[in-house]
C-alpha cells in the first residue's frame, strides 16, 4: 500500500523554517542556472535571429568573419549579375554589397569597445527587411549621415539623433535609429557604402548579401559562385553564417553555466541530505508507526524520496519565479568572432525553465536517496523505544 502524498506535504509544512531554508537553497541554485543559461541563450539568439534562411551571404574564401573578408567591386558586379537572385518590382536584383568594419568607440560608462559600422547598398533595406527605422529618417546616399541600431542607443557615446560620430577625418551625423527584431544588426551603425568606403579601407567591400528567388536553389547557387573561376568566394546561408558567429562565446557561456551550477548543485545536494536526515531523525517514531500499520519498507522509502523531490521542486518553482525578472535585461559584450560589440538581452525560454525544474528534481532525488533508505531500513522496535 502506498503512503498518501498529503502525509509528505503536511510533514514539510510542520517544519516551515527548515523546509523553507532548504527550498531556498535549491531555489538559488536553480536561479543561477537559469540566469546563466538565459545569458548564453540571449547572446546566441541575437546572432541566430540575424540571418534569413532565404538570404545568402558571400565572403572571400577562407574568411571566417565579415571583418576578415574582402570582395572587390568587379567580383560584386559579377555576383550581382548571377541568375537566381530575387528581384524588386522595378527589376533591380535584391543584392547589397556591404562595407563592414569595427571602429574603436567609448561606451557611455567610459570603457571602450569596437562599434560595428556597415556601409550598405540601396537595396539593403529590402534584403534585410527586418530593419525598420523607428525614429528619425534613413541616411541619404552621398551625405555624411548614418543611422544607428537600437542596441547602441544609450549604450555608446554620441548616439542621439543629431549627434556626430567621427570616423577617421570625417564627422557623420546620426539621423535615425532602427530596430531589427533584436538581431545583431541592432548593434550596428549603418550608412551608405560608397560614402563610408573611402573613410575606411578603400575600394573593397567585405561581403555581399542577397535574396534568393527560390530558397531551395541554394545548393545550385552556391556551386555556381564557388565554381566561378573569376571569383574567390565562399557562399553561406545568411542564417547559418550568423549562427556560426555565436559558436565560440555561446559555447563558452554555456560551459561556465554548467560547470558552476554543477559544483553548486553538489553543495545543494549535501544540504538536502542533511535536511532530510534531520527530518527523518526527528520522525523515528512516526516511521516505526507506519511500519507497524503495515506499510512496506518500499512504500516508506518511496514516500520519503517523494518528499525530498517535492521539497526540491518547490525550491525549483521558486527559483523559476525569482528568475523571471531577469528576462529582458539588456547587456552587451564583444563578440570575439566578429570582433564587434553585440548588445543582447537575457532570454528565458520555457525550455530553460523546464531544465531548471528537472535539475531541481534531480537534486531532490539524489539528496533524498540515502536518508530515505535509512528510514526504510529502520527497525520497528528500535524506533518505538526511542524517547
Amino acid at each position: 500500500m502506498k503512503i498518501p502524498v498529503i502525509y509528505n506535504i503536511r510533514s514539510l509544512l510542520r517544519r516551515p523554517a527548515t523546509s523553507l531554508a532548504t527550498a531556498l537553497g535549491v531555489a538559488f541554485v536553480v536561479l543561477t542556472f537559469i540566469g546563466m543559461l538565459a545569458l548564453a541563450n540571449g547572446f546566441r539568439s541575437a546572432l541566430v535571429s540575424t540571418g534569413r534562411h532565404d538570404n545568402v551571404i558571400v565572403l572571400r574564401k577562407g574568411a571566417d568573419a565579415e571583418i576578415s573578408s574582402g570582395i572587390t567591386r568587379e567580383s560584386a558586379a559579377i555576383i550581382r549579375s548571377m541568375p537566381g537572385i530575387a528581384r524588386l518590382a522595378d527589376g533591380r536584383p535584391m543584392v547589397t554589397a556591404d562595407v563592414y568594419v569595427v571602429v574603436s568607440k567609448p561606451r557611455v560608462d567610459g570603457s571602450e569597445t569596437h562599434m560595428p559600422v556597415r556601409g550598405v547598398g540601396p537595396e539593403a533595406f529590402s534584403v534585410r527587411d527586418a530593419v525598420r527605422i523607428v525614429e528619425g529618417r534613413a541616411f541619404e546616399p552621398g551625405r555624411a549621415e548614418v543611422i544607428l541600431g537600437r542596441g547602441l542607443v544609450g549604450r555608446m557615446a554620441n548616439t542621439r539623433i543629431g549627434d556626430k560620430l567621427r570616423f577617421g577625418q570625417q564627422d557623420f551625423t546620426v539621423v535615425g535609429h532602427f530596430e531589427a527584431d533584436g538581431s545583431a544588426f541592432e548593434s550596428e551603425v549603418w550608412g551608405d557604402a560608397e560614402t563610408l568606403m573611402p573613410v575606411f579601407r578603400g575600394p573593397v567591400y567585405q561581403t555581399v548579401a542577397l535574396r534568393l528567388e527560390d530558397p531551395t536553389s541554394f545548393d545550385a547557387f552556391k556551386a555556381r559562385l564557388e565554381g566561378d573561376p573569376r571569383l574567390q568566394v565562399q557562399v553561406k546561408r545568411e542564417a547559418d553564417f550568423y549562427a556560426e558567429q555565436s559558436s565560440f562565446l555561446g559555447a563558452l557561456l554555456n560551459v561556465i553555466a554548467y560547470v558552476v551550477t554543477s559544483v553548486m548543485a553538489v553543495g545543494a545536494v549535501f544540504g538536502a541530505i542533511n535536511t532530510m536526515d534531520a527530518m527523518i531523525a526527528g520522525r523515528t517514531r512516526e516511521i516505526a508507526l507506519l511500519q507497524t500499520l503495515g506499510f512496506q519498507r518500499r512504500s516508506i522509502m518511496a514516500s520519503f524520496l517523494l518528499e525530498a523531490v517535492f521539497l526540491a521542486l518547490a525550491g525549483g518553482v521558486l527559483g523559476c519565479l525569482l528568475s523571471l525578472p531577469i528576462n529582458g535585461i539588456r547587456t552587451s559584450t564583444t563578440n570575439w568572432q566578429s570582433f564587434g560589440e553585440l548588445a543582447f538581452a537575457f532570454r528565458i525560454t520555457p525550455g530553460i525553465l523546464l531544465q531548471g525544474l528537472i535539475f531541481a528534481a534531480v537534486m531532490g532525488f539524489i539528496g533524498g536517496l540515502l536518508p530515505a533508505r535509512r528510514a526504510a531500513k529502520m527497525v520497528v522496535a528500535a524506533g518505538l523505544r526511542r524517547e
Binding site: 538559488f28 543561477t32 571566417d64 574603436s104 560608462d109 571602450e112 553543495g267 549535501f270 559584450t333
Partner: protein, 383 residues
C-alpha cells in the same frame, strides 16, 4: 570533562551531517574564491602589461593597419630606444575551434619582450629560418607539436594555406604572461601580402621601447599629435592601458558573473546555516541537561559558538585552502585559458569574513533560544 571534549562529542554525534556541512561550506567558499579570483585576474590583466612599452595602433581601431613608413619617424622620436612591429595573422590550425593567437613580428620584437624566454639555439634557429615560428610551451603541449615540425595554417585574412616550421619554444619570463601564442617573421607575412593583394607596406601595430616610463604619456602625445591629420591617425598608449582596453571590451559580463557568484554563495550558505541551526535545535534536551547541571547561559553560548566555529573553520580550510593549493601552488589555469590565476590576500580575507558571518548567523538562533530556554519546556521538547 573539558569544553573541548563536549564540542568534539557533539560534532561526532551526527558525523555524517557534520561532514556534509563542512563539505557544503567548503564547496561554497571554493566557488566564491574561484569566481572572484577569475574576475580579478581578468580585470588586472593590465598589470601584465609593461609601462615602459608603448603600443601605437590605428586610431580607428586595432583592426586597421598603419603604414610601415611610420617606422622611421617613430624611431627618431626622442625617448624611444627600440621600435618593433607586429601584425595579426589569424591563421586557423585544422579547425576553427583550435583558436590560438598567431602573429607576425619583426626582428626587434624579441628584444622588446624579455618576457619571451627561449634558449639561444632556439632563438638562432628561429631567426635563421624565413618560415620559422616560435611557439609558446602551452601551445606545443596542446597540439603535441615538436621542434622542427612543419605545420600548416589556413589564412582567414590572407586566403590560402601557409606552412611554418616550429624552430623554437618559449616560456613566460613572468607569471601571467601568455604561453600559448605563435610568432613568426614579419618578412614572411610581407611576402604573403605581396602575393595576394599588393597590400604590402602595412603593419598591425608598433611596439616602442621607452627609456623613461615616466615620460611615456608625453611621448604618446607627441606621436599622436604628429599623425593627427594624416590618412592614418595613431593612438599611442602604454601596454598596460592597451591591455586594459581589451578587458573593457567584455563590458559588464563581469558584473553578471559576479552577481551569479554571490547568488551561489548565498544559496549554499543558507543551506549550511540552516543545517547547523537545525542540529543545535535538536539538542534542546541536551542543553537543558547542561543547564540543569549548572552550565550558565554564557557557557552554553560558548559551546554553541565553538561548535559552529569548528564547522565553518573546517569548511574555510577546505574551500580557501583548496583554491590556494590549486591556483597559487599548482598554478592551475584552465588549460592556459586564464594564465596567472592567484588568490589575492583581499579575496582570502573576504572568504574568511564570510565564514565568520556564517558561524555567527548559524550560532545566533540556537544560542538565543537556548538562553531563553526553560529547562522544563526543553526536556519536554520533541525535535
Amino acid at each position: 570533562m573539558t569544553r573541548a571534549t563536549l564540542v568534539r562529542a557533539s560534532l561526532r554525534r551526527r558525523l555524517r551531517r557534520t561532514i556534509l556541512t563542512v563539505l557544503g561550506l567548503g564547496i561554497a567558499l571554493f566557488l566564491f574564491v574561484t569566481l572572484r579570483t577569475f574576475l580579478h585576474t581578468l580585470q588586472t590583466v593590465g598589470d601584465v602589461g609593461s609601462e615602459s612599452r608603448l603600443i601605437v595602433s590605428n586610431k580607428l581601431g586595432i583592426v586597421f593597419p598603419l603604414p610601415m613608413a611610420y617606422r622611421a619617424r617613430l624611431a627618431s622620436q626622442e625617448g624611444v630606444h627600440t621600435v618593433g612591429y607586429a601584425s595579426w595573422f589569424g591563421g586557423i590550425y585544422q579547425d576553427p575551434r583550435n583558436f590560438f593567437a598567431n602573429f607576425a613580428v619583426d626582428e626587434n620584437y624579441l628584444t622588446l619582450y624579455p618576457e619571451i624566454v627561449t634558449s639561444d639555439e632556439h632563438r638562432a634557429a628561429f631567426m635563421a629560418d624565413r618560415t620559422g615560428a616560435l611557439a609558446g610551451v602551452r601551445l606545443m603541449e596542446r597540439f603535441g607539436w615538436t621542434v622542427g615540425q612543419t605545420i600548416t595554417l589556413q589564412g582567414t585574412i590572407y586566403p590560402g594555406e601557409y606552412q611554418f616550421t616550429i624552430r623554437g619554444v618559449y616560456h613566460a619570463g613572468r607569471r601571467g604572461f601568455d604561453e600559448s601564442s605563435m610568432l613568426f617573421h614579419h618578412r614572411y607575412l610581407d611576402e604573403i601580402m605581396r602575393a595576394h593583394m599588393g597590400g604590402e607596406g602595412f603593419v598591425g601595430w608598433y611596439v616602442l621601447g621607452v627609456s623613461d616610463p615616466d615620460r611615456a604619456p608625453q611621448i604618446a602625445q607627441a606621436i599622436d599629435a604628429a599623425y593627427e591629420n594624416s590618412a592614418s591617425p595613431t593612438r599611442s598608449q602604454t601596454e598596460k592601458a592597451f591591455n586594459l582596453a581589451f578587458v573593457g571590451m567584455y563590458g559588464n559580463i563581469g558584473f553578471f558573473l559576479n552577481a551569479i557568484g554571490m547568488a551561489v554563495v548565498f544559496a549554499i550558505l543558507m543551506v549550511s546555516a540552516n543545517t547547523m541551526a537545525m542540529s543545535a535545535r535538536e539538542r534542546f534536551g541536551e542543553i537543558a541537561v547542561l543547564k540543569t547541571l549548572g552550565f550558565t547561559d554564557g557557557a552554553v553560548l560558548r559551546l554553541v559558538v565553538a561548535e559552529s566555529l569548528v564547522i565553518t573553520g573546517l569548511g574555510l580550510a577546505l574551500g580557501l585552502g583548496g583554491a590556494v593549493l590549486l591556483f597559487n601552488l599548482a598554478e592551475f589555469d584552465f588549460g592556459g585559458f586564464v594564465p596567472g590565476l592567484t588568490v589575492k590576500p583581499g579575496i582570502a580575507l573576504m572568504a574568511i569574513a564570510i565564514a565568520l558571518l556564517i558561524a555567527a548567523v548559524s550560532a545566533a538562533v540556537p544560542a538565543w533560544q537556548s538562553a531563553r530556554l526553560k529547562v522544563v519546556d526543553a526536556l519536554r521538547y520533541v525535535a
